[in-house]
């Protein structure tokens, strides 16, 4: 039976079918749906770990224990998990381990572009790359077999376009051996204890191992030659293969399903059969460099871009410019002339977003804010313009501590989301306490991992599988670290937020403010939605409420007779009734919930 599956769903299906027993991940676009899908299979244990390093350690432990396992992360997640990735390569495993890395080219939802095939070579780990959903599913099982055959973790490298494209996939049954009894853990201290003496013995083993995989790659069925017109030979991988097939229907292809290590004989042979050898690969010239090291003449990044995501247009236009295709190959495009520029539609904090209350107050107090990764990063945009750094997961608190130690004229704070705090904020907050800075850490606890689409985390009291569990309280953590000033505020109460901020800024020593209010899009919060209304007689168009940056508040057509300025209007379809704008309004022109209810009763 065939089904239309996204690449992520296909990977989950592949893990299920190939007998994965333990899978762990931290949510991150474009990889999140893999574990969400896998969680639906009862036969596989799956979990959200607090971060990618923990997730990979969990998968390694399961593989040490003799079970097939999988760890899943976005590209930058492997930066966090790199330590584990390298030692797992050194030790090898007792059962197959596949490490899924989903690279986000064009940074649809990421802070940087990086080509994680580099990590595969760096750690001497084989790297497999699917070019559609079917291969994504199949290569999970293949990766586990390669892992077991060569005693090495295997990277399955996806990209956003593979993860988020739906293609037809043939479904199969789960192939897993029934276990009669719980297996005994096989102890091998020399192989698994990476003290220097043992590690020095292991390093030659992994160098020899990758040479053997190189031999294996020569006949690996997912490295495939498709001979056509021999005037042009194209070496390609991943979704770039699909773009290349589309743009060069006549050419000869060497499609690589394993991009590290490369098969030298196969490549030499292919190169000898074609007049001109080019590589079409996204981001880094990884394959190109490897081929050049084989002493072959090859072109790649001199023709195709090294930045962003490809599509047929990018490939075609680059090829025309390089003379690989005639100008007549161009697609006719009609870009209309616009009478006025089109308004942009950047991502924004949603109506009713609880983060808004905190940022309005840090802005009011003219604070410098070290930011982090999550929906709240969007507070950097006007009109709030209230977040001033965003680097990587968990960076805010360490940065703010550094700012504090350096000393600046302004007041400052760190903001970090609840899930991000558990990810890598914990050790940074410990550092604030240990090394005694006046850092104010604001934990924006919206009771979910909102950015990636509402996943559970250690603070929510629920697991990926939907089982109740212990919910960690941020206040308890701060107190356990020895932080004495700990405030809990409701970000919908601006006075309360401002009061806590002022208290923390005036006091000496580290402080934590837990801003607790669930994401307005969560089902429980939706039940409380109620649209507010502007009293047009009271509104004089002063514009204070527009500075809140809520997409539910509009400038209406009505102008104030005295000031000539547009009055406010609230879209009842968008407003959730958070009352933040009502608190900002100096003329009490925006009705609070209570007033709305009274109005309803008297009507």
């Amino acid at each position: 039976m065939k089904a239309l599956l996204s690449g992520n769903e296909a990977v989950a299906r592949g893990a299920y079918e190939s007998g994965v027993q333990v899978a762990a991940a931290y949510p991150g676009t474009p990889s999140t749906e893999i574990l969400e899908t896998l969680a639906q299979y009862d036969e596989v244990y799956s979990e959200w770990a607090p971060n990618e390093k923990v997730a990979l350690d969990v998968a390694i432990g399961a593989a040490y224990a003799g079970s097939r396992s999988m760890a899943v992360m976005k590209h930058v997640g492997l930066n966090v998990a790199a330590d584990a990735f390298f030692y797992a390569s050194m030790t090898g495993l007792e059962a197959g381990l596949v490490m899924v890395s989903a690279d986000d080219f064009f940074m649809h939802s990421s802070q940087n572009e990086q080509d994680n095939r580099r990590y595969a070579k760096f750690a001497r780990v084989p790297c497999l790359e699917p070019s559609d959903g079917q291969e994504a599913k199949d290569l999970v099982g293949v990766a586990l077999e390669v892992s077991e055959q060569f005693d090495s973790p295997v990277m399955l490298r996806l990209t956003t376009r593979i993860s988020h494209s739906d293609t037809l996939v043939e479904l199969g049954e789960r192939q897993a051996e029934e276990r009669a009894e719980v297996p005994e853990y096989r102890i091998d201290r020399i192989k698994y204890v990476m003290v220097p003496g043992n590690a020095r013995r292991r390093h030659p083993v992994i160098e020899e191992r990758i040479e053997k995989v190189k031999e294996f790659a020569e006949t690996f069925p997912y490295n495939r030659v498709e001979m056509g017109d021999t005037s042009l030979g194209i070496v390609t991988d991943g979704v770039a293969y699909q773009y290349a097939r589309e743009v060069f229907p006549e050419a000869s292809f060497l499609k690589l399903g394993m991009t590290y290590p490369l098969p030298p004989k196969m490549i030499h042979d292919f190169a000898s059969k074609v007049d001109r050898l080019i590589v079409i690969e996204e981001l880094d010239p990884f394959i190109e460099e490897e081929i050049r090291l084989m002493g072959l003449a090859v072109e790649g990044k001199s023709i195709f871009p090294m930045i962003g995501e490809f599509n047929p247009q990018v490939v075609r236009e680059s090829a025309i410019e390089a003379g690989l295709l005639p100008p007549s190959a161009a697609v006719e495009v009609k870009q209309p002339e616009l009478e006025t520029p089109l308004p942009l539609r950047p991502p924004i904090l949603c109506p009713g977003c609880p983060h808004r209350g905190v940022f309005l107050m840090t802005k009011k107090l003219k604070m410098v804010v070290s930011g982090d990764i999550g929906c709240y990063t969007l507070a950097f945009l006007p009109p709030l313009s209230a977040l001033h750094t965003c680097g990587c997961m968990g960076a805010s608190i360490g940065q703010a501590h550094g700012v504090s130690k350096a000393g600046i004229a302004q007041k400052h704070a760190a903001v970090i989301g609840d899930s991000t705090f558990f990810h890598t904020g914990l050790p940074a907050l410990l550092n604030v306490a240990y090394n005694k800075s006046d850092t104010v850490t604001i934990i924006l606890d919206n009771r979910t991992t909102a950015m990636t689409g509402h996943q559970q985390h250690p603070g929510t009291g629920m697991t990926l599988k939907g089982e109740p569990t212990k919910a960690v309280e941020f206040e308890d953590v701060a107190q356990a670290f020895g932080i004495e000033q700990v405030h809990t505020v409701d970000p919908y109460d601006l006075k309360e937020v401002e009061g806590a901020l002022r208290d923390c800024l005036e006091a000496e020593g580290p402080a934590v403010i837990v801003s607790r209010r669930e994401c307005a899009l969560l089902p429980e919060a939706r039940k409380l939605w109620m649209a507010l209304r502007v009293n047009e007689e009271r509104c004089n168009g002063c514009g204070l409420c527009f500075e809140v940056g809520c997409p539910a508040i509009f400038k209406s057509d009505q102008l104030d007779a005295k000031t000539g300025r547009a009055k406010a209007w609230i879209d009842p379809l968008l407003c959730t009734g958070c009352e933040i704008c009502a608190q900002v309004c100096a003329r009490k022109a925006i009705l609070f919930r209570e007033e709305m209810l009274k109005e309803g009763e008297s009507a």
Partner: protein, 197 residues
């Protein structure tokens, strides 16, 4: 055969992804190789959403370039203008009448194009554009949210080789049970609305 390319555009939360999901499923039911790919940025809702759906004997790329869409299905007027350059000159555009002003418009910094401007811009790329009162038609049926299926109904009239029943099968399977009847009627309303420009 050359692949048939659809581009669905809209704003997050509008139902663009349901529409492109149905479109992909219809292609599978009609016996085509199908690829679908979504591009949506960081926002939970409120940002631009586009989805490419391709039907063909064999489909390679999940994405298309500018000028390669045979059909543009726009759930929102501003997004129609933003992506009309993706349409093959002379291709078919089915555009709904929903307008969702971005923050820069609601704050008064930008102006949302009026319907006449929308028409003038569309007509630079194709004469075969169809402005459908999708929201009004769906409201008349009792639920404005069915506007996306109204537009699918209109689109279906341009795809000759797939009978309406195939579309309806897909719609029945993909919308919540209690909305099946509403969406069936929305689909038919969209088919009947084709003539209006």
């Amino acid at each position: 055969m050359k692949a048939m390319n659809f581009l669905v555009t809209g704003v997050g939360g509008q139902g663009a992804l349901l529409a492109s999901g149905i479109l992909a499923d219809v292609g599978v039911r009609a016996g085509y190789d199908v690829k679908k790919s979504e591009v949506h940025g960081m926002a939970q809702r409120g940002g631009s959403v586009t989805s490419t759906v391709r039907w063909g004997k064999v489909v390679y790329s999940p994405l298309i370039g500018q000028g390669e869409a045979d059909y543009l299905l726009a759930l929102e007027k501003l997004e129609a203008l933003r992506y009309v350059g993706m349409l093959r000159p002379g291709g078919t555009a089915v555009v709904g009448d929903m307008g969702i002003p971005p923050l820069s418009v609601s704050s008064g910094d930008d102006v949302y194009p009026n319907d006449e401007q929308v028409r003038r811009v569309l007509s630079q790329v194709t004469d075969d554009y169809h402005f459908i009162p999708s929201v009004h038609l769906a409201e008349d049926l009792g639920n404005a949210r069915a506007h996306n299926v109204v537009l699918l109904g209109t689109l279906s009239t341009f795809v000759d080789d797939v009978p309406p029943e195939v579309w309806l099968q897909s719609i029945r399977e993909r919308v919540p049970k209690r909305f099946v009847e509403l969406n069936e009627r929305a689909f038919h309303a969209g088919r009947e609305a084709r003539s209006s420009k």
